[in-house]
């Protein structure tokens, strides 16, 4: 411990005595850490269990069904979102914990007006079934979710978000109050904590209403206009659910005389993020992120490595002196790594600050990326990135790991080359 304090003290002296080198080094490290961390936070938002999608690791998604004629001479082919009858079929399967159909929003999070007697505000409205409240873990501040009998009776009961309640009524105490949406009156039965706009399309909304209150078109036996999310009982049972669904579809196709139906999915939640129509290349997509991360790290690491090499040459006599008085190569190597680690840690702090600046100034830009651009200005949605997205151990652990890797790549090689010199050559380096 004593030794490390000493190394850090020396490192601090070195930083102060080489202000230009240190500030360039710290800024360089900071920028690359900021970029990597921004990417990491985006990935974290996209894949980590976050409110209200805490079950992402055991969620399966079906967004598309394909229909072909059994008659092999026909080329007729349909592709669409599935419908609510598929939802009720899946509901019966033994390994399924919960399933929901969310009415598809083909145009992204489109806006309509909600109004009271006094005011009116644009909202994002989502039509769902009652299973929705089991698949997703919404936090009810007041009231209750709508249930199956609400769905069956087509009762016009809605759940609103906290901020929407405030926009409409200036208070969160809104149970039993009515709002008007597109000419119909709805009664508020529940208030939930806001969902950040960066979350999945299926959960981002201001108002939730039973799908049965809207005109929904089940075009065909399995084709319709909802998207399906399923939770398995545990993440071990994901494959079981997949198998049961495949079995169920097989039987269904046997009974149907005219058509074959094929689901595009079910995909695990994270794989569903990489699906483009029939193409699912999650490995390639993941590799792409890997390359970006690699480039974000390796390019600055090489630059920093070059900077360190030239500094190492300047410090060669110091290494010689230390060896003359009894330092071992190992001790010197760890000294250099500690010094550099301190610089990189400072870089890490700078990086975290830059990263938060990017994320907070650019949160609507990030929302856009996460929704593939299908979103209007998010000013009215609660688009703030939440604390759990930004300040979490994963992100900090990642930053620390990145610091560590950057440090090793950029310092280890130049340092070990310098240490290979004989003492006398280090003391009197050739010009």
């Amino acid at each position: 411990m004593n030794k490390i304090t000493l190394y850090l003290k020396q490192a601090w002296m070195m930083i102060r005595q080489n202000k230009l080198f240190s500030s360039i080094y710290i800024t360089g490290t900071g920028l690359s850490i900021a970029l990597t961390m921004t990417l990491f936070v985006i990935l974290y938002i996209k894949f980590a269990p976050l409110y209200p999608e805490y079950k992402r690791d055991r969620t399966l998604i079906i967004d598309s069904v394909e229909k072909t004629e059994k008659d092999s001479t026909s080329n007729n082919y349909w592709q669409s979102t599935p419908n609510f009858s598929l939802v009720s079929m899946i509901c019966q399967l033994p390994s399924v914990d919960a399933v929901t159909g969310v009415k598809a929003d083909y145009w992204g999070l489109s806006r309509i007006e909600a109004s009271t007697l006094h005011t009116s505000t644009p909202i994002v409205l989502k039509h769902t079934d009652a299973g929705y409240w089991k698949v997703y873990d919404f936090e009810f501040i007041d009231g209750r979710p709508y249930n199956d009998s609400d769905i069956q009776s087509k009762s016009k009961n809605v759940v609103v978000s906290q901020s929407c309640a405030k926009r409409l009524f200036m208070t969160e105490d809104v149970i039993n109050k009515t709002i008007e949406i597109s000419g119909s009156e709805y009664e508020i039965i529940g208030v939930v904590k806001d969902v950040a706009a960066v979350m999945d399309n299926k959960t981002v909304a201001d108002v939730w209403a039973p799908f049965s209150t809207t005109e929904y078109t089940d075009i065909d036996d399995l084709l319709g206009d909802c998207e399906i999310a399923i939770t398995a009982k545990s993440d071990n049972e994901i494959d079981a659910v997949k198998a049961e669904i495949a079995e169920m579809m097989h039987k269904y196709n046997q009974h149907d005389k005219l058509f074959n139906y094929q689901l595009l999915g079910p995909d695990t939640y994270w794989a569903s993020q990489f699906r483009f129509g029939k193409i699912l290349n999650e490995k390639d997509e993941l590799l792409k992120y890997g390359y970006i991360l690699f480039a974000l790290l390796i390019i600055p690491a090489l630059n920093l490595s070059g900077m360190i090499s030239s500094r190492m040459n300047k410090r060669l006599p110091e290494l010689g002196i230390r060896k003359t008085y009894g330092a071992t190569n190992r001790q010197l190597l760890s000294q250099i790594l500690w010094e550099n680690f301190l610089l990189t840690i400072f870089g890490g702090f700078v990086g975290i600050i830059i990263c938060y600046a990017i994320l907070l100034c650019g949160s609507s830009w990030i929302t856009n990326i996460l929704h593939n651009g299908f979103i209007e200005s998010t000013q009215l949605l609660s688009d703030n990135l939440s604390i759990e997205m930004l300040f979490n151990w994963w992100v900090f652990a990642a930053v620390l790991a990145i610091c560590f890797i950057l440090n090793i790549i950029s310092a280890l090689i130049p340092a070990s080359i310098s240490l290979r010199q004989t003492i006398i050559n280090s003391l009197n380096p050739k010009q």
């Binding site: 004593n2 030794k3 000493l6 020396q10 002296m13 070195m14 005595q17 006599p317 110091e318 010689g320 002196i321 230390r322 060896k323 003359t324 008085y325 009894g326 330092a327 071992t328 190569n329 190992r330 001790q331 004989t422 003492i423 006398i424 003391l427």
Partner: protein, 224 residues
Amino acid sequence: MAIIKLTGIDKIYRTKEIETQALENVNLEVEKGEFLSIMGPSGCGKSTLLNIIGLLDTPTNGSIEINSKLIDAKMSDKALAKFRNETLGFVFQSFHLIPSLNVIDNVLLPLIYRGTSHKESVERAKAVLERVGLSHRLHHMPSQLSGGQCQRVAIARAIIGQPEIILTDEPTGNLDSKMGAEVMDILHELNQKDGCTIVMVTHNEEQARQTSRIARFFDGRQVC
């Protein structure tokens, strides 16, 4: 008993263009408590010899024994470092202080690698700096000191670990005669009071005559 024993030392520097034989079959013994001067014209291999004795460089051929211990290529980096740290002290012509450390931190450097506690190291550094007459410059940086002061810091650093052997390469070469005399006084005191064995490379006949023995070199060979 010889504290340093060199047998058949050759040193050949090979570069792409030329080969320089810096030392040729050097056999030299230094007795414990001796103050040996090494003299000879520039380029005759004095520094090379001293560096080899100090384990800062390796000979092409020949063997070195220090304190009856044979130093060979098989010794680990760690063992060699321990040897330099505990048995040897160096004073160079160009001081070789670490510019980013202040006087006291420069002086206690050998104790860091010995694992001495920081508190004790500081105490001992203060004591040796007092001995070389620099108690009033503890927190100065090397760049703020005169040449003579730098050399006294270097001596303090060489003796803080109480080594048996002090090796010094033209310690007064960069100093004026008054400062040079001060440095020589300190070295003599170390030799006489502390019983340090000293090997000194010098160009100064008068300084050499005050030491116990002179070894003269010419073209890589000892001539007397």
